[in-house]
């Protein structure tokens, strides 16, 4: 299976990602871009996008970037993730860019940045650093 196919599967066959509406935009080895059109069900009580949506977008995009650096048959599992939420997220669209900053035999470290429109300008809304375990299933 080509790398591109493998990663597309991570998006297509993940029900929570389908449900949320996260779309794969581009993928290269160690780097992944995604986007998400904001829907009313993504919001929290104050009309901002729920932190959980932002974190899910960051985590999944990071996972795809990380998995792209591993040989076929190996997968990633999020071990820990830290997210700084810097500005409230509004619609209409969030973008995420993940890039691998270190691939080891067992551990892959990925940075993911979520951007969106804030007061009319594209701004960084959240910054995540993710530790992925490389596993053979």
């Amino acid at each position: 299976m080509t790398l591109s196919k493998r990663i597309q599967e991570i998006f297509k066959r993940a029900p929570f990602i389908q449900e949320l509406g996260v779309e794969l935009v581009t993928l290269e080895i160690g780097e992944c871009h995604t986007k998400l059109m904001i829907q009313p069900q993504h919001l929290q009580q104050n009309d901002f996008v729920h932190a959980g949506v932002v974190m899910t977008l960051a985590d999944h995009t990071a996972g795809a970037a990380g998995e792209s650096t591993l040989p076929e048959g190996q997968h990633v599992l999020t071990t820990e993730i830290k997210v700084h939420l810097m500005r409230p997220a509004l619609g209409p669209e969030l973008k995420c860019h993940a890039e691998v900053i270190r691939t080891g035999k067992n551990i892959v470290v990925v940075k993911a940045t979520v951007t969106g429109i804030h007061h009319g300008k594209e701004k960084v809304l959240a910054l995540a650093h993710v530790t992925l375990a490389a596993i053979s299933v």
Copy 2:
């Protein structure tokens, strides 16, 4: 509005939390219990619950616990969150317990633990520490 009402609102009026199915179980000042029945749409490609679901549950429960320590009119906003995902999460149900470990004038620190059944026993699946900003809106 009573504390209990204020917190119930955080659950009822947050579309993403309703959509996900997170239920408020009990609340005391500085402490909150929630649960979530796992549905097919919560899963990822490998049939485990998506990390995003676990993180959302932890974040929202932590937010409720944190907000319960603030005077009426003040709200919390997640500034940063770190989650250790220790075991893959399966159904049928996840529970979350959040407790405030430090309330300051501007910053509230909360610990949230997500538990579930793993190989027939109740186990800690994820451990989160959340920094909340206290804001007046």
Copy 3:
């Protein structure tokens, strides 16, 4: 070499830990207690103990607890650490208690708590969660 000897070496042969004055108090498998007498050189400009001292104490104690769960010949290396600094640290003494919360084949997750006297009472000053990589050198 006995476990106790192996861990004592981690303290005796680490120049930075000797320099700082960190003392091993007790060790069991997966659990380690240490202490540090505060000296003037541990302080920062505002007379509080420097965050770097608190973090070093947490990191090293966590490493000892983590290494105690591995077979001889395997060592731990800190991959990432997060520390919540909850109260300013003063002397005369800091204590640290680290306990392993999850040991995997390649990754060990440890929680470390730093306590000290704050307004006359023993209080939690800092809470750390550490991801250690298990390596064979």
Copy 4:
């Protein structure tokens, strides 16, 4: 007092930073460069620089960068810090570059990168994200 003087004080009057040997290289508003010549007492049992040294360098440089964005009379206190340690650190010198990524009324978020020579090339050894509380003392 000029900004430059205020920040120099943070280095000169912090005994732990003096003891360690951290030097301020340059400072602009929201950005700080430091360096540290590695000495034998900075090492751990395996001859790598102790994680505590790397974390202290990152934390203090981040604090200086953060404080430079605040009005005189306001200071920063580290609330939480996360450090990814990506490669073992060796001498002869570590450099740190910190830049503020978000300044709020009460919270300042700073990124700090520690670099050093690894297999003959300058490499990122550690990446830290720090949440600072802005306080008036």
